[in-house]
Symmetry: C3
Subunit: 138 residues, 3 copies
């Protein structure tokens, strides 16, 4: 049993957007009891991550850490046509990932109690971000 769907989200520039509820709903709708849910972001300048879901400071600390680690407009970069945040966004995506595979148990996403699913926009401007969701199992 395999079900595939799409979701789109509008981001508002650099920062994280909680999508845990939307992913949990896709799993419920699939009817899969035991299996896996794969969530795939079809972009190269945003990430999908699991992150601590209780204190919003975790996500702002994380974003500021990555902004310092991968500097916008780094003079190292030759790929600059789309602005100082473009090449840094590509690197952030490769370091932090673009997809998630989540266990499905008893018909639900078997996340840990502190794990939330976040779409993380790496560009300064907002973008429409498309996700392909595949739920498989029994």
């Amino acid at each position: 049993m395999i079900l595939q769907g799409k979701l789109s989200f509008e981001t508002r520039g650099r920062g994280t957007l909680s999508i845990t509820a939307a992913i949990r709903e896709q799993v419920r709708l699939s009817g899969v009891t035991t299996g896996l849910c794969h969530v795939f972001l079809q972009h190269t300048s945003a990430s999908l991550i699991l992150c601590e879901n209780a204190d919003p400071d975790v996500r702002s600390d994380l974003d500021r850490y990555m902004t310092r680690l991968v500097t916008d407009g780094d003079p190292l970069f030759d790929h600059t046509d789309e602005g100082p945040d473009d090449m840094s966004a590509h690197i952030r995506t490769i370091l932090c990932g673009h997809d998630l595979t989540l266990p499905v148990t008893d018909g639900q996403c078997a996340l840990g109690i502190w794990q939330g699913v976040y779409l993380w926009e790496h560009r300064s401007a907002g973008h429409r971000r498309n996700l392909a969701i595949t739920v498989s199992g029994e």
Copy 2:
């Protein structure tokens, strides 16, 4: 054919714990001949990684590298209530990952000859870490 189970490990603080044998055993017990084994850590301050399995220096170099890259108690962090190693542990988890998908071939984990599976505790103190394992295939 899909089988799901759980494993728990007690860590002893920051550092790596080899769990290759335990994962290989779960694959054998599943009876799956050709497929995939997904191992998922239900936490936001520890990682699951594949790492070189021959020289223990690789894992200690890796851990010291990450300790330098993501500094405990970095003044950048606002999320400090749980100690100086907590926010750094969340960032290490996002950079290094929390799950693995391994091919199953001829009833066995098809790891490369130098690939070992490690549970990597990022917190200073030991913790009980829970894993959800899903083996699927034929």
Copy 3:
């Protein structure tokens, strides 16, 4: 329905090699219409990544960024027997990943328009790199 195969590539030292066409072909040959394609690198010093596929500067910027972030011959490293680029290659692999899970839709890899699949050699010298490919679905 699950199909598993192998691919090998000869790299020419540090840098990226586009393997999008080879992966797309494996998906087509599998006959799977809806599902997932898992591509797994059986090594600890090279990566599989999705990266922007239009401007080659993105990949050269990325490689130079990682060369600066994870310094060859860093005096921190004890694991030095195989040369100054070996321990840095292991760390690059852990930070950037060793596998990809791609959605299969209408019999094709459902990559975003700017996403290309790259094998990224982290060692200075060329190596033969083996991949296990598992396509599952209906």
